[in-house]
Subunit: 135 residues, 6 copies
């Protein structure tokens, strides 16, 4: 299996609901350094999985819609805890949409992806799944 | 598959037996930066894999039992080479025990884990397996 | 000149006032990975600048007073933009207070410090100065 | 599954053919930081996957054949774009050859490998596959 | 002294002249991960050294003029070895020009800068100097 | 001021004497990732501070004399605590000797050096000084 990975980041505010979160129930924030790994079994005729520049541009657009915001105010996340692993899935789903729109090229045959959000030098969350199954 | 990862470290002395180890047969030491990735197919009702704070606390306890020691003196490792990959399994098994004791929460459904020990900026070892199979 | 450095982190929400900040005028957040370097010209009788464990504990306490909060609500920062470089100075001043309280040892002769806050994998801010001059 | 990973690097020039590459069609270059992860289901009698020193030496030899060269002039790559993911496969195949020659030990039972080439702090490519299938 | 740092990168080809360089006399290449630290003794009225976004944009422009090129063909470097430390000075001088053009803000009072180019995970070069002296 | 930096590592055992060290009075160990920064005000005729390859080779030799050993048994350190900051000075002094022997080139005019030993992802020690003063 071949893959390429691209990295970007976002800086957001949010709070969590649930006793398990302790002081993280207060309004706080995070920088998420986001890595997206795109995989396919074979390279295309140009010798690539996808163009790294296009993948980076697609991720930048996904970041732009979340960056520098209070996620508690985003209707898309109403009633949900925007935990690191939950947001990994959000980025995953939005990258799948970008692939389906053709933002990464017309004939991209990305088989699966892994999205990792590092919230600090000691903790991260991820979502890994087939691209076909993401909805 | 969702995951969260936490990081900690330990600083130990040890020596190896076997010609393959060359000068590492002498008493020496290592800092192991330890990453534990915990995976499950779905998030719980709070939107998490496990609480990152609890996972970090469980790993800290596993580290405390090994840190600042000469592993050659630990009866648990008698007759074994405490290589990086061997210790990755040790940390894996002890994290499984912590999960079974409920240290990471009552209803944690961790499906699998990966434990990686980085011994330097250029080398690491890991053990990756299902939580149910670890004994 | 000798030095030791310790690392910790905090996760906060805040917003900035001023056109220069553009969209960062909105409520958002950041993870700051904080490195504190403590320097002195000579080692003490034990062969250390300060005990790394004590320095880490002092930094952990400074972090605890800021972590998981909305800095816009902290009276200590009223009317100030809590930029990365401003917060580097805040951490610097609080570490100086810890040194003066003796938290790092009775006879610590720390001459100067550098505090660096990394807000992402591509940006950071710092304050560097003599310990005697900090007030 | 157990694994060990070793890291090295190479610094090469090359150019790409195909409109998708835009300005990367010009002659340019890259430092590739190369990580090779070698996996097997059980440790050998010495408690290792392979000797990390031997794995590092094998990777160093693979790097030596590519390092400090213009890959456009290498007959082995005629008519191919030496993209990051393509080169990951090249390193993979050459490491497989090293394993089969016995460079990593006589009875190494490496089941699979992952080769990752980081081309910058924000992008990488990899090839991951079973050792038996590589040809 | 306060500072902010921003990071970007470039991927170039080049060769060196001089026996000291050994095989690096051949045409090869490098990814340079570039960190620019800008320092000033006091924060401005907004609480910043310079706007991190503006600093990053200025560095991006400096990178754009060098990226994805064979530096051996750039008339600006005729007769010079474009070593890591030499290029650190080139980036330094071009950032000074950007500051003087007002690209980082009208009243920026940057006192000094440090430019570091990391050529791999094990080697880097830098230039550090006062902004007023750079010509 | 120009500089180049090279990185290597060593893996050692040791113990400390003194109540301040707590459990680190037990025999334990560390991996030290060592960065040596060599500085001079001007580049030489080849456009370099020192040859990075030669600097790396000199550091490798310094590491070889310490690596994979119990420092408690090294007569050079009798009666001393081999703390991170103390060892930074040891590496500094040995690199100065290498420079004076001409290992980095005949006419190297290194003005000062900084040696940093990272003992983990969260702690390091360093020594920084003029090369002429080191004895």
């Amino acid at each position: 299996m071949y893959s390429v990975s691209v990295r970007d980041h976002m800086m957001i505010a949010h709070s969590f609901r649930g006793d398990v979160f302790g002081p993280a129930q207060r309004l706080h924030g995070a920088t998420y350094v986001v890595d997206v790994e795109l995989r396919r079994p074979d390279l295309d005729k140009d010798g690539i999985v996808v163009d790294i520049g296009r993948a980076a541009a697609a991720l930048r657009q996904v970041m732009a819609d979340l960056n520098l915001r209070n996620l508690d105010d985003d209707p898309a996340f109403a009633g949900r805890n925007t935990t690191t692993e939950f947001l990994a899935r959000v980025v995953f789903d939005r990258m799948v949409s970008a692939i389906r729109r053709g933002d990464l090229g017309v004939d991209t045959a990305v088989a699966s992806m892994r999205v990792t959000l590092s919230e600090s030098h000691v903790a991260s969350g991820s979502f890994d799944g087939p691209v076909g199954d993401a909805r």
